[in-house]
Amino acid sequence: MRIHLTVNGTGRTWEVAPGDTLLDVLRREGFAGVKKGCGTGDCGACTVLLNGRAVNACLVLAVKAEGHTVVTIEGVAQGGRLHPVQEAFLEAGAVQCGYCTPGMVLSAVSLLSHNPDPSEAEICEAISGNLCRCTGYVKQIAAIERAAARMRESQ
């Protein structure tokens, strides 16, 4: 069957099977920044924004994305410019192997778009579904706080 959706600002029409997940289809269509860590909704590596909200793409059937808007990690930087969350991840040293990073960045982008001044507890809540096996999460919190401050300043 055929679905129509907007991915990173561009309208797409894709042929999908009923059982395909949004994760499968995005990766198949070249959005390789969307990572698969488990396929069972446990790790958050496949996080994308669906209509602005962070979801695990491995738990969403592709057909359910019909008519919706998806943002993947490839759509977070605008042109050559990194998003403040991406910049802050670099500066704070929040990236090690980087496999969890796309999902973690999108969870943070989603948080900050709804809540420009989150508390530490709110940050924890927002990325509690994103597993990272390399870091101790400490630098991600610092990065998200830094990005939030920078985004508030530039408002």
Partner: protein, 755 residues
Amino acid sequence: MNEAPATLIGTAIARPDAVDKVRGEARFVDDLAFPGMLHAAVVRSPHPHARILGIHAEAARSMPGVVVVLTAADVPGENIVHVIVDDQPALAADVVRYIGEPVALVAAETRRAARAAVDAVRVDYEPLPFVASPLAALEPDAPQVAVPSAAEGGNLFNRMVLVKGDVDGTFAVADVVVEGTYETGYQEHAYLETQGMIAVPDGLGAIAIYGSMQCPFYVQNAVAKVLGLPLAKVRVVAAATGGAFGGKEDVPSLLGSLAALLSSATRRPVKLVLDREEDVLTTSKRHPSRVFYRTAARADGTLLAIDVDIVLNAGAYQTLSSAVLWRSLVTAAGPYRVPNVRVVARSVATNTVPNGAFRGFGSPQVIFPHESQIDLVAERLGIDRVEIRRRNVLHSGDRTSTDHLVRDSVGIAETLDRAAELADWTARLERAATYNRASRETKRGVGVACVLYGVGLGGKAPFLDKAGATIKLEPDGSIAVAIGTVEIGQGLTTAVLQVAAEGLGVPIDRIHLSPVDTSRVPDSGPTVASRGTMMSALAVLDAAGRLRERIERVAKAHRIAKREIAQRLPEIARFFWLENFDPAVEGWASTEPVSWDPATGLGDVYPVYAYATHIAEVEVNVDTGEAHVVDYVAVHDSGRILNRVLASGQVEGGVAQGIGFALMETIEEKDGRLIVNGLTTYRLPTIRDVPLAAAVDFVEALFPAGPFGMKGIGEVPVMAAHAAVARAVAHATGRNPTRYPLDPPRIKSLLGEKP
């Protein structure tokens, strides 16, 4: 090197490799594709031990999209996955020895078609008696698991001893003797990226392997053997690797061999990527252990003797078990002076998945005991736990348990003092006591742990401790560096670039480090044992020094002053090109000599040791049995810290893994079957389980033979963390835990025991 630009060593420059990663542009193995690429799936044994009577693949072969089905009979070279001892087949031929062992392979046009074909391959088995527990496997009438040529007898893979001084005599006269038997279970690496390999025909009868791995040269050797190819026709390239922690040390040799078999049979690229469930069920883990530990001490707390018996569950094949066991053996005394030592260590074959390397590599299994035991001695004698460690830790001029006289870079005492200071140890103990008097439902406890880690591969495999590098000055003044150890998230790219810039005296942004490709550098050993950065940095420094001399010579000939070199490098590079100077240099590094006598277990077993002291504070809910780490201090001596942000990232991540090991992570095994369902039931620490305000610090006891004085750091944090947490739980509960994980049921049962 005194005219270097403002020093980069110790500067927290941001990781260059992180840019691709935050953009989602880093290419991990499953992100790669090659024209005509097929997808692989593996037919695996459902039995822990069985004879293969026949394999019926006709139905699978005729399914749509299926290109080939292979069995052991189709292996062109030796049917062996070469790691240390050649007992593990790439594909089981007659007998399967663990659930999940590869029996046949499918390559198909799509992943889905390959998986469907796996279900259509019918294998007839005759189940055999099996044994899953190492102690049962040592019984005389146990089923024979080990391939006989790989065992010392029966299912005993390896037995090693270390004997120093008069152990029995000392125990007979010691003021205090304490003992315990400690057990740890499986720990799954749970790297966020599952394992995967792609094999690609590489022209002229050669093959290239791209994949997620720590040890490209291991993979090169294994693939050459299984295909019967010369090493020169096997090229291995490391893709971006999404975490490894030891799990991608030996397993990629197996998976690379499987992908290579299919590629060689089909003459097409073949991708083999495990899904999470398959990865957790069929790849190596931390060896479950049982350690009996007896300690003798004088009334003033001085440790006098230890008597240790170590049993590791190796699983069905040897893989890395002898090396893991060796580290358990030679570091069983920890960072303490112990004059009389007896350690007997055995690794045992069972019908379970082969266990392998996991960050710490056999040492966490002895650290849990040695840190528990020293606390028990302290308690018996009424000595403070930090104080008793102070009285026993190694200093320069002391001898380790293997009789190694350590002189340089012995920073354990400093880490202990600094950690106690940062934690405000005495006051913290008082605060916990006050808290506990007022609180019934929750109890606070504080634990301290000291560890020693021998950096590198040591006296068991000194021939692996080497590394190469090449540096090439391009005609435009940019610089290409190639090395043989892998970025697995630990920050090696950044640290090596810092060292290259420092060694060459040129700005770091002129230098490019390419991904590891075995055809570019000589065998550089594995990226393990916290050696990857140190060894490649040494090789890079070696090459950089010589290229720098050449550059200075050419500069001088053209009247360019030394201090102008960095800035005018493009001009100089152009002269190299015009005047036909050799712009490429090879660098080489090997470690200082090490020694080990298998008869006594003694020797100068490592070139140097890294050290750490961690202090954890936990809160235990006595009603639910839940333990939570509320505060944390970690102080490391890894010699010079090249980049503090990277180093503290290693520490924070290791602490999280240590908390996981101590409090939550394990896999139950029943009848040889692991009871686990991917990450759904294997619970990893999340952001809610880690101390977010951890204090991390470094004391830098410089290692003269290390690059700028560095040692290694990668593995040390996890080693100290689990023990600090376990001892904090001990303090909070007033009990001596002897089994991991300290999850709610175990803590509740611990609380039910007599204190």
